[in-house]
């Protein structure tokens, strides 16, 4: 039951994201560059030996977050709470062993990493993120899997929702169907997913689609992208300076 609700929640989020992004202008900077910048930022923070780099990134991300709409801010904060609390709890023994700074450093790095990704996620549509990965060489399989996952999440979520509804309609009296039928629903959904996977494979073969996506919106490098490359340079220079 809980699993099904989670799937429905995910489906709802995708639909809401589609609706919200329908009227939004595409990102002025190539999404691949933005994803790359986020990855580089997280990598440099992980490599940094002191807190200066991490605190600076947190301050910048907080400023970016402050300029976002309140609904986005709330989503980012929700995404932050659990990992930060979890990492703080995991690192709590370090305080008792006499290394409180270690706990602070690790928690701050987790906060920074999740915040960078969550803020990036708010600025990019999930399709743009998928397209960004396709810009990197050798990522075609990854993009195909990611895209299929997103699509099948919606299809299978809808399917399992209907199954659950059917089970509810047929249940009579006080039965413990909530627990007893979850395995049945999941099993049927799994069998259905196998059928769908085979059908998809056949459909791909019929349409001569080998899994390599071709982008119809060729995003050549613009002057904005050139300026954004300066962010890469600034991040690396600041990392070296503060090392």
């Amino acid at each position: 039951m809980r699993l099904n609700l989670k799937v429905m929640e995910m489906t709802g989020r995708l639909l809401r994201s589609d609706r919200e992004n329908a009227s939004r202008k595409p990102s002025p900077v190539a999404p691949a560059l933005r994803v790359g910048a986020a990855v580089l930022c997280i990598l440099l923070c992980a490599l940094s030996q002191n807190a200066v780099y991490v605190i600076t990134v947190i301050a910048v991300e907080l400023l970016r977050l402050a300029m976002m709409p309140p609904a986005s801010i709330l989503r980012v904060i929700k995404a932050l709470i659990l990992p930060v609390i979890f990492s703080a709890l995991i690192m709590l023994p370090a305080v008792f062993l006499g290394h409180p700074r270690t706990m602070l450093t690790v928690t701050m790095k987790v906060l920074e990493s999740v915040m960078v990704l969550a803020v990036m996620n708010e600025g990019l549509d999930w399709r743009e993120v998928t397209a960004a990965f396709s810009a990197f060489k050798g990522m075609a399989v990854f993009v195909l899997i990611l895209d299929m996952t997103m699509r099948f999440l919606m299809i299978l979520g809808d399917y399992s929702g209907k199954l659950l509804e059917a089970v509810m309609l047929r249940s009579v009296g006080k039965t413990s169907w909530k627990n007893a039928k979850v395995d049945g629903i999941l099993g049927t959904t799994f069998l259905k997913s196998r059928q769908m996977a085979e059908a998809t494979e056949e459909a791909m073969a019929c349409r001569c689609f080998n899994g390599q996506y071709r982008s119809y919106h060729q995003h050549g490098l613009t002057w904005r992208d050139g300026l954004f490359l300066g962010v890469y340079a600034a991040m690396i220079a600041f990392f070296i300076l503060t090392k």
């Binding site: 807190a51 400023l63 300029m67 709409p69 309140p70 801010i73 709330l74």
Partner: protein, 329 residues
């Protein structure tokens, strides 16, 4: 003007906090009833401006420093009740995270800077400017309002300091808390505020008001959709980047010394209440990060403080908007 802990007796702090409770309640009530939810976001931006204004320290001869508060500006733009809440939240953040102003003295600091300052400033502004907007009369009203507002707040602070040795003494006759009486505290506080700090408040109020009236007129209009406009973002960014200017002012503001410094300021001893009083260690004391150059720590503190204030008020506005939608449904 930020009174640290142990300069005022716990009794004085309690009275000042109790005096602020009805002011906060009235302000919250007024905001709930009269302010559009979208405009609550602007309270966060205003609080961020006030926070940044307080980081620009101005030195005066004699080794002390002071700063503008920006309370009158917020009162002119959003009303005195909104200014009261905005400055209160900015002061709370300063006290909790940056150790600027005491935790026990929070009520007293709010009384001076979040109540007296904006309400006096706004009353004088209204008296002079009337309904004139984007007019020389408005700017004159704003300037005089800002000047009298900050001086009213400074006078209240001086009185709070000055009555301590009259009311709280030990058996030997030594002051338990602030050792300076009214004859010292009033001139010490007022000389700086009647001259340079007052001028700093006038410049800050008039300059930002003129900029906002020109670049973001929606700030003072009751529109349903108010965003953080690009000119305001730029102004905020410039202020954050310029905060290290406040570090050029060497010395500590009058009445903001540490317990270890007070004896050397002329008092000759450390009052018992200060030596053994309440002590709170802030997360980032004095707007600094250990291991970071002072100027860089100052910029980061400004960025973190301003961002947190905007985020907080945006979320409050969002929550209030959702609640009113639910109520209507």
């Amino acid at each position: 003007m930020h009174i640290p802990d142990n300069y005022l007796s716990p009794q004085t702090c309690g009275v000042m906090a109790a005096a602020m409770v009805p002011v906060w309640a009235a302000s919250i009530n007024k905001i709930k009833k009269e302010m559009p939810k979208a405009k609550i976001v602007m309270m966060g931006v205003a609080a961020a401006f006030s926070f940044l204004a307080m980081m620009f320290n101005v030195p005066i001869p004699g080794g002390t420093t002071g700063h503008a508060v920006g309370g009158s500006l917020i009162a002119i733009l959003l009303g005195p009740y909104a200014a009261c809440l905005s400055v209160s939240v900015a002061l709370l953040l300063q006290a909790l995270i940056f150790g600027d102003g005491g935790i026990l003295a929070f009520g007293a600091n709010c009384f001076n800077m979040a109540f007296v300052l904006p309400f006096v400033g706004y009353a004088v502004y209204k008296l002079i400017a009337g309904s004139h907007q984007k007019d020389t009369r408005e700017y004159i009203g704003a300037g005089i309002g800002g000047y009298l507002g900050i001086n009213g707040a400074a006078l209240c602070t001086a009185i709070e300091f000055g009555i301590q040795p009259m009311l709280f003494r030990d058996a030997a006759g030594s002051a338990l808390y602030c050792p300076y009486g009214l004859n010292v505290s009033i001139p010490a506080m007022m000389i700086g505020h009647l001259t340079l700090f007052g001028l700093a408040e006038v410049i800050f109020t008039v300059a930002v008001l003129a900029f906002v009236r020109r670049a973001a007129p929606e700030l003072s209009v009751s529109t349903a959709q108010i965003q953080t406009s690009p000119p305001l973002k730029i102004l905020l960014g410039v202020l954050i980047a310029a905060t290290p200017i406040g570090l050029f002012a060497a010395g500590t503001a009058w009445g903001e010394w540490g317990a270890d410094e007070i004896a050397a300021t002329g008092a000759g001893y450390t009052p018992k209440g200060m030596a053994h009083g309440f002590h709170y260690t802030a997360l980032l004391p004095d707007y600094s990060f250990s291991g970071l150059p002072e100027w860089f720590g100052y910029i980061l503190s400004a960025a973190v403080g301003a961002a947190l204030l905007i985020i907080l008020f945006k979320l409050i506005g969002y929550g209030a908007g959702n609640r009113s939608k639910t109520d209507q449904a």
